[in-house]
Structures are given as structure tokens and as C-alpha cells.
């Protein structure tokens, strides 16, 4: 699904940043999303993610929870402060450890469960990206 109501005139693909400390997860997700119309960028950790966001525009960040240095909720909250336009989704194998209230407070969507359902993940991304693109 792609909408063209961007300020830029050329049809640029929405940019999705995936953050996970497990490189094979990043690879599998990129592989899964190949047919979706996104530009996929990846970061292996929270600090790498923040640095990347300073360098380029991103429409959506999908982040894992358990990472060294900063957990997903903390990262996504910080991204919300620095780049309020960006849609943020949390994915985690440890849903019980995540406070849903905190997510709501920080405007973070999810949590999506790991292992994920391909269809569910794709749908969540499509909806979130559509909203971001519609707003811009």
C-alpha cells in the first residue's frame, strides 16, 4: 500500500528502520519485507539507531525490547521525543515484561510478539506507515 501525498514530488519509498541486536533477525525481517514497498534500513543497537535517525528521515521504527545499553521502550520513547513524526512499534519475545500503559503513554504501538506472524507484522507496518505518510 503506498500513498503519494508526500511533499516530495518523486515517489520515494517509505523508510522503515528495524532495530535488533540479533543480526540474523534483521536479515530475516528484511527478507520477509522484500515484496513490501519500503526502503529497509537496519541498526544493531539503540545508539546506532539514534545516530542513523540524526542522519536521515525515517517513517517508522520497529524495535526489539531486549538490547544492551537501552531497552526498546526507552529507545522508542527517546525517538518519540527527538523525532515526533516517526511511527514507533515495539516487538518482543518477552511481552509480560512490558508495561502496556507505558507504551500508550509514550505513543508506542504494540507490543508485537516474537516469534512473529508474518501477516500480522506486515499489516501492522502497513497501517502505521500509511498514517505517517498521510500526515506528511
Amino acid at each position: 500500500m503506498q500513498t503519494e501525498s508526500r511533499s516530495q514530488s518523486t515517489a520515494t519509498l517509505p523508510v522503515v528502520l528495524i532495530v535488533d541486536d540479533e543480526v540474523r533477525i534483521l536479515s530475516a525481517m528484511r527478507r520477509m519485507l522484500r515484496r513490501e514497498r519500503y526502503e529497509i534500513v537496519t541498526a544493531e543497537g539503540p545508539f546506532e539507531a539514534l545516530a542513523l535517525l540524526d542522519e536521515r528521515e525515517v517513517d517508522l521504527v520497529l524495535s526489539d525490547q531486549k538490547m544492551p545499553g537501552m531497552c526498546g521502550v526507552e529507545l522508542l520513547a527517546e525517538i518519540g521525543r527527538r523525532h515526533p513524526r516517526v511511527a514507533r512499534i515495539l516487538i518482543t519475545g518477552w511481552a509480560e515484561a512490558v508495561e502496556e500503559d507505558e507504551l500508550a503513554r509514550q505513543g508506542i504501538q504494540g507490543p508485537l510478539a516474537k516469534p512473529w506472524e508474518d501477516a500480522e507484522l506486515k499489516e501492522a507496518l502497513r497501517k502505521a506507515v500509511a498514517m505517517v505518510v498521510a500526515r506528511s
Binding site: E22, S27, A28, R31, M32, K66, K114
Partner: protein, 428 residues
Amino acid sequence: MELTSPVVRIAVLGSGDVDSETHSDDTLAALRRLGPEAEIETYSDIESLAGDPVVAAFDLLVLDCDDSLLATKWLEVACKVGPPVLMVSRDDDDESALDAFRSGAAQCVRVGSDYANVLPATALELIHQWQRKREHGELERQVLQSEKMASIGQLAAGVAHEINNPVGFIHANLFQMSEYLQDLQGVWERMQVLQETIEGGRDLAGIRAASEALRDVCQEIDFDYVKKDIVKAVSESQEGSERIRHIVRDLRDFSRQDGGEPTLTDVNMCVDSTANIVWTMAKHAVTLKKDYGELPQLRCHRMQIEQVLMNLLVNACQAIEEMGDGGNGEKEVTVRTERRDDGVAIIIRDTGVGISPENIARIFDPFFTTKDVGAGTGLGLSTSYNIVQRHGGEIRVESEVGNGTTFDVWIPGGDERKGDASEVPIAD
């Protein structure tokens, strides 16, 4: 002097011939002063004691036997039963008392003027000590059981977490690979058509058409990309699968049941599988360094040794976590094994908070803990200490606040063992 409930059971052991009957009567009379809550049973011959399984559950054994040779035989049997043995002595010298203690008697009471008071008082004290010890043993068993359940819960959570990612990406990759295969079907079909066209001797136009069709489908599916990515997907999935196998193997090693007898064990393997399991539960931040020496096989109770290792490794990780980002910044646990003095030494060093001089003398005490309420029962180290002791080994600790702690466990390889490592109050 009288006991209050619950009932205690006392066995009075004696030789049973006429003269001793009288002596035993004195003893019986003195013990009856403990009141109706004291159930007293007499055993007049050694065989009846040796063959009776019930007596191990008694609270006290009192030996009153005149014949010193016979008394020695009685002592030998009685001290193996379990409850404390109180010996009655009618000799004037100290030799017989010393002999009694050497054989394992808990106390010796000399028949004298105040015998009627001294005997029951001493009996009472020994009974209370024994009951406290048994309660402690029972408590220790219960707490160990619940510690074990708690750590099984942690273990399960750790394992689930560790295999979660590999399962996730293997599953996703398999799905993508099946899509790739479908795409490739199209390519292979067109290849076949091209081949048949060439071999069928069709004209150049026909061949060109088939070739174009092949090129088209390759472009459509992005054949160059698929060609490379399918290989990558398989390889990454294999790595994930290997990781899962590794975890399953470590778990299997860890949960292997202990029989009653010590077995020849590869200590490096024990250390390695326990360390791997602990690291599935530890936070990523702590580094584990392994330094395994060449070790002889060790005759020991493998599960108990793994319990000690798990205890020390978990403590090491917690000490580092507690330090947070302070201290020297290092977050490392080193596990070293080496041959030492006809036995095996396992040295576990951490760069954690360390143990203060006031606490270090007490860390092996049962129930001593520096953790918050509910965070630990304080039995881990005392149990570990007991296990090592029963193997005839030694466990030593060196520590400096802010600089870390080193535990040194040594277990002899020979058969010199103090006590029996298989009588252990540990839940299976």
C-alpha cells in the same frame, strides 16, 4: 525437666544379662524422669539394633554396657544409625570416655552421685540439638526444593528467551525460501523450454523467443538477488538451528539425574555446560572467559558438583550486576580449571562488588545473605560448602571490596573422602 510434647523416642542399649539389668534399671529410671512424653525402648542385643530400620528415626540412643569389649561393639553399630549416642560410663578413668568419643559418641556421662539428674539433663540437651539439626535439615531440604523450583523457572525463562530468536528467524526464513523456490520454478520451467527448443532443432527465432522468456522471468523475480539470498537464508537458518541444538544439549547435561554412586566425570564438560546455562540467564553485559586445563576424570557426584558450579557462577554474575557501572568497569567472570595435588581445582573469579572483611568469614554460614529479603535464601554457599566437604575437598574464597572475588574449589581425585557424599539432604 519434663519434656512437653511432641513425643521423643529414646533407645536404651545394653547387654541384657542380670548384672547389667540392674545398671540399665538405673539408667531407665533416670530417663523416665523426662516424663511420659519420652518413649523408651530397650535393645538387649546388637543384632536387634542393627536390623531395626525404625531406630534411625529415634531422637537419642543411650548406651549402658558394662563389658568394655561389648561396649565397643555396641558403639560401632550405634554410631552408624544416625541419632546421637549418649554413653554411660562406670569407669573411673578418662580412657573409656575418650574411646567413646573417638568412636563417635556425642556425649559420655559417668555414673556418680548426681547421675539421676545429669543423665536426663544431658539426654535432653542432645535430643534438642538433634531435633534442631533435623529441622534445619528439613528446612534446608524444603528451601533447596523451592530454590530449585525458582531456578528451574528462571532456567525455563532463560531457555525460552534464548531459543526465541533462532526459532523466529528460522521460521521466517523457511517461509521466504519456499517463496523463492516458487519463483525459481518459473525460471527452471523456462530453462527447460529453452533447452527443448534448442535440442528440438527449432529455428533461431524460436530459440530467441524462449531465451527472452527466460530472461524476462529472471528479471521479474530478480533472479540475481534470489540466487544469493536463498543461500544466505539457508546459512543463517543453519546457524540458528545449531544454537538451538547447543542449548538443548546443555540442558540435557544439566538435568541428568544423579545415581547414588559417584561416577567418573569430565569436569571441564560439567563446568562448560553449567556456564553456558548460566549465561543464557545472565544479562549480555557480563563476559565469560574460559580457561580449561587438562584434567583427569574425577570420581564425584556430578549433579552436586554442577550445583556448586551453578551457585558460584550465579553469584559471580550477581556480584558484577550489583556493581553496575562503578568500580573498574570490567564485567568479567573467569573460569579456570587445573590439575592440582592429585585432584581437580576449579577457580571462579569475578570483577564484581567483592565481599567485605566482616562478611567474608560468614559467607558459608547457613542463611547468611547480603541480598535483600526474598532475593535469596542464603543457603546456596553453605550447601556448596557441604557438598565440597563431603567430597573430601576444600572451598576457599578471596575477595576485595570493589575489586572482585575469587572462589577456589578443590576436589580430590582419590578415594579419601570424609563422610559419605551420597547422604545428602538435597531434593532430587
